[in-house]
Symmetry: D2
Subunit: 356 residues, 4 copies
Amino acid sequence: ERIRDYGIEIGVIPTGTQNAITDVSGVKVGHTTLVKGDSIRTGVTAILPHGGNIFQQKVPAAVFVGNGFGKLAGSTQVNELGNIETPIILTNTLSVATAMDAVIKYTLRQKGNENVRSVNAVVGETNDGYLNDIRGQHVKTRDVLSAINNATENNAQEGNIGAGTGTVCFGYKGGIGTSSRKLPGSLGGYTVGVLVQANFGGVLQIAGINVGKELSRFAFSDQLLNNVDGSCMIVVATDAPLDHRNLDRLAKRAFMGLAKTGGIASNGSGDYIIAFSTAKETQIAYKTTHLLKQEVVANDYMSPLFMAAIEATEEAILNALFTAKATTGKNNRKIEALPVSKVLDILKEHRIIKKK
Amino acid sequence: ERIRDYGIEIGVIPTGTQNAITDVSGVKVGHTTLVKGDSIRTGVTAILPHGGNIFQQKVPAAVFVGNGFGKLAGSTQVNELGNIETPIILTNTLSVATAMDAVIKYTLRQKGNENVRSVNAVVGETNDGYLNDIRGQHVKTRDVLSAINNATENNAQEGNIGAGTGTVCFGYKGGIGTSSRKLPGSLGGYTVGVLVQANFGGVLQIAGINVGKELSRFAFSDQLLNNVDGSCMIVVATDAPLDHRNLDRLAKRAFMGLAKTGGIASNGSGDYIIAFSTAKETQIAYKTTHLLKQEVVANDYMSPLFMAAIEATEEAILNALFTAKATTGKNNRKIEALPVSKVLDILKEHRIIKKK
Amino acid sequence: ERIRDYGIEIGVIPTGTQNAITDVSGVKVGHTTLVKGDSIRTGVTAILPHGGNIFQQKVPAAVFVGNGFGKLAGSTQVNELGNIETPIILTNTLSVATAMDAVIKYTLRQKGNENVRSVNAVVGETNDGYLNDIRGQHVKTRDVLSAINNATENNAQEGNIGAGTGTVCFGYKGGIGTSSRKLPGSLGGYTVGVLVQANFGGVLQIAGINVGKELSRFAFSDQLLNNVDGSCMIVVATDAPLDHRNLDRLAKRAFMGLAKTGGIASNGSGDYIIAFSTAKETQIAYKTTHLLKQEVVANDYMSPLFMAAIEATEEAILNALFTAKATTGKNNRKIEALPVSKVLDILKEHRIIKKK
Amino acid sequence: ERIRDYGIEIGVIPTGTQNAITDVSGVKVGHTTLVKGDSIRTGVTAILPHGGNIFQQKVPAAVFVGNGFGKLAGSTQVNELGNIETPIILTNTLSVATAMDAVIKYTLRQKGNENVRSVNAVVGETNDGYLNDIRGQHVKTRDVLSAINNATENNAQEGNIGAGTGTVCFGYKGGIGTSSRKLPGSLGGYTVGVLVQANFGGVLQIAGINVGKELSRFAFSDQLLNNVDGSCMIVVATDAPLDHRNLDRLAKRAFMGLAKTGGIASNGSGDYIIAFSTAKETQIAYKTTHLLKQEVVANDYMSPLFMAAIEATEEAILNALFTAKATTGKNNRKIEALPVSKVLDILKEHRIIKKK
């Protein structure tokens, strides 16, 4: 069950229908989950800005670096040209190259791309090496292609799936989480959807309550045990027609959402936010005309979108924690799931949960 | 009274003695408060990295731009050279030029600076134009010099003072706030101190509790009334020996602290963080030798400092709200103080306040 | 006489009619030159993106920092919001505050701006303290207003004028210089105009010829005398409809033009480029609608504009050198003009000058 | 023969012994050249900051993005942590993933790295798809490992070698080029070495002379034929003890050197500069102590290093052009070598060549 199923509301803006990144029309998500033997606990998650040939119809985009201890591929071209031209892939740290290569192959082989000689693959990662035999590099090209090819518009799966299979978050099992916000018509009526690969630490806060502290389980609480490092990859999609500059600003707000869960963007964390717009009128053809006609949201109307990105990111991370299951992996290491029952008790004690 | 006086703890790290930026040894703070007639509600706050000639003994520094709708002076040189060479001044938006000029005059006149021909004044601002006759530009050179000259090492004043005299925060009276954290010896034993000029909006959260929502007073809750813009200037001081790069990272974490109070860094917000180190061994003489000997904190030991900056920023903002008083200003506009009694009731209801 | 008057061509793209920034339709330039007594050698240069109320009709803009040892005001807001809302002012280092304040006053007083409470003044500077009594801060508010009010669309004055009155460049008298390029219709037909305040050092190259070396006058050639510091402010205007992102890229190319004159962006140099578009359809009203309709040049068509910016910057700097006159200033210091006759001999020897 | 062999001097600072990046003590360079059949014209170049285990002894580093139409891997971590932990690899655009993966495998397998679970591979590229069957992805893991393993301290090979095998520059055959500068003792005595993978366009200037124009062969000179795109990867090494911030500034100066060859950093160009210091005292152990002792060059002493980087970059690019040989590749396309004889005639006509 997701956090909202327990009557816990994050923020003040209504969610989209699925409360998922796929509420942003056209966005597709696919996962490949690799759980084999004692020590393979990893996978691939693919996010497609739209269902067509992305290289031929690029989308405006931006990458914001929260903390750059990470191996994200493709960020400099995204920020220079202001667009993304491939599916976005998330996987583990030592499989970024495999995923890049798979995205290149996928793009080269697409119909219409027969003469393409340059592909900017966007691949993010977090390090699942505590549970997963990451040095074994078990993600293969076919796993990446599979995640892309299986992507659908109504995939709101969360937890131990895809790139979240082996992740750890605030000392508990992390994973994939997603959420969305839909602004009222008076504020533009846009949808903002977020998907996270949650694998980081700090002092867990749920709906503001300092659960990490109450559970006595947080960064630096125990000098011997603390491990705040990890990473959080955040993908933000919106149907609002935004240019690169305002997508960069939107991405930065997702970083604020991470902060609200108690994340601290520790030294060893790779916290990156990739934001893109799916608005048809802002798509950029591979072979453009001299002038691009655009209709983009003006600066003065950005704040509600900012708030939506903050809220959806916070909730996506919490969803990852609530849905992930206890996992045993490499060297028989075990990571517990968030103790939901205890957490609910804490939230009840704090009158965060209203219904019952 | 400050938030901690009510038994509310923010975060998990202990505070410094004063729970103020001046806990960082050598840092001095001074204020000039301008309250005159019906419509002058403004002022100046000065933060001095040390008590000596700052131009002759510069300190390592960095500026992080959270949201750049603001007129901060001096950021490009701070980030290019990695240091600050003047007192840091906070004031109102239309008085930045006056403050710059005052800092230049102050520096030119200092003993030892007789031949100085270039001064990089660092001046931040927020817009107090709702309560203050900002177009009247009532801050004068003498007011800035007074704030510098009156600065002391044990000034932990907060609320309607100095540059916080006319500010508004989450729809309530904002102002100056400060807080600090002292790491245990095992994590370096360093102090991180923060001072804020709080003048922004969003959905107020206090110790995580969504007070703004419970008071039905938050951004976009009322289409006619919402005003989330404003700004937040944040100054972060530490005695940890940090170079520019790690100060930049530290500054970015203060932005995360702002997020935890419910700030959204709205489009019209000027959210800047200025971070500096007071460690003697990292000071840079005006006339340096060819090589600078430094001993700086390694990346791997930065995370506790990051957490300290997040916590101290959150608490500094809340202190500003708790200490600021209701103010009537320009055009007879009135901004109420945070309704502390109601807020405490909410926090009690949520079992955030333990003692009592 | 300007460099082209001697038959020297820089680059391969034709110039505009005036070979000046004012070839970009609507751009106005004005100067206030302050030469008084023995030691006042300074001034103000104003560049207006258009002749209307700039605050009410902002223009897309970007600031690129070549080397940030400088006090440029306004850059963070320009880059956050992507626009400029005031005249651009150039002056000396210690007069930036005065110029900011003058721009604020100018803007507050403009018809239609009666309720404006926030103004982002863009003010650049270089340090003329060798010839000018810079510590005396002789630029006054009226001097700045005068430069703005006297600005015209056909002002191509150069050399010892305005903000270039006291500048030094490659050890010779520097000053204001300007140039432009007009692309052929097949490449868009756009005009790119550049104005520089040249006050920097390195090894002077004219039309590629290493004149500094041949004259034995260059940075580090004499350990006792070398002074490569200074600064170069570069303003780039274009009628091409560009958004912030592509203006930022255009600005970066102007920095490449500086390199071609032998500039090295020394440690003490404040090399900033401010680029803006005058295209009507990209202007941003103070009170915008929710969506902005734009028609902007696509990435794939930017390269000719890049080349134009490089060429015009190189030529503008050389024009500053060719037109500036020898000047005696503070402490009876004298800076010679570029020895044009010797330079022409060198260029003839190298067969750079073709006509005769 | 290299450009200096013809009596052409670039700049004013003396070169190092080899006039190559390997003049920086400890730096090793290796190449794998792939020329097979009609259409394989590509390769790999490896630059090793030192001969030890780079992951265990990281070097301070920075990446500057000149123009980001490129797929450089690793830049965000380099800039966040301020260091490089692997060999630097250059190859073709569609082989970056292969190279990343090879570097990861190389690092994982190194003695002492048995528990390493995170590797930040730094891989740059240019697009050799005109001469090379780039879509065939002919670079294999073994080719990358071979370049690393064959790297030596006295490798100054240039032209059609390694990652330069299939590159095109200013319409002529490009390739690998290298150069160095050694500052006099009075300026620090440091060496700056540069290696480039030259594959870009513009208007070729040699020693300042507009050779491209005289040969009527330059960007946009022929609307049908122009192809200014491509890329230039630039690696800058120095034995000066520099921290990340000053390495970033140094990298930016290499971009100025590119400008002096007539490069314009066209829209489709991936122009990146990777700079690192080899100074022993600035190396960062994988497991550091809490405090790092450093002795770094002060800002005020950076300018000579800046000039050295500019000069060495310009000469490295010209060396690539002078040493590259005419090449026939994919689809029987042929790229001529720089017509050295004609070029020398032009330079003689312009009295650039003195001896002879």
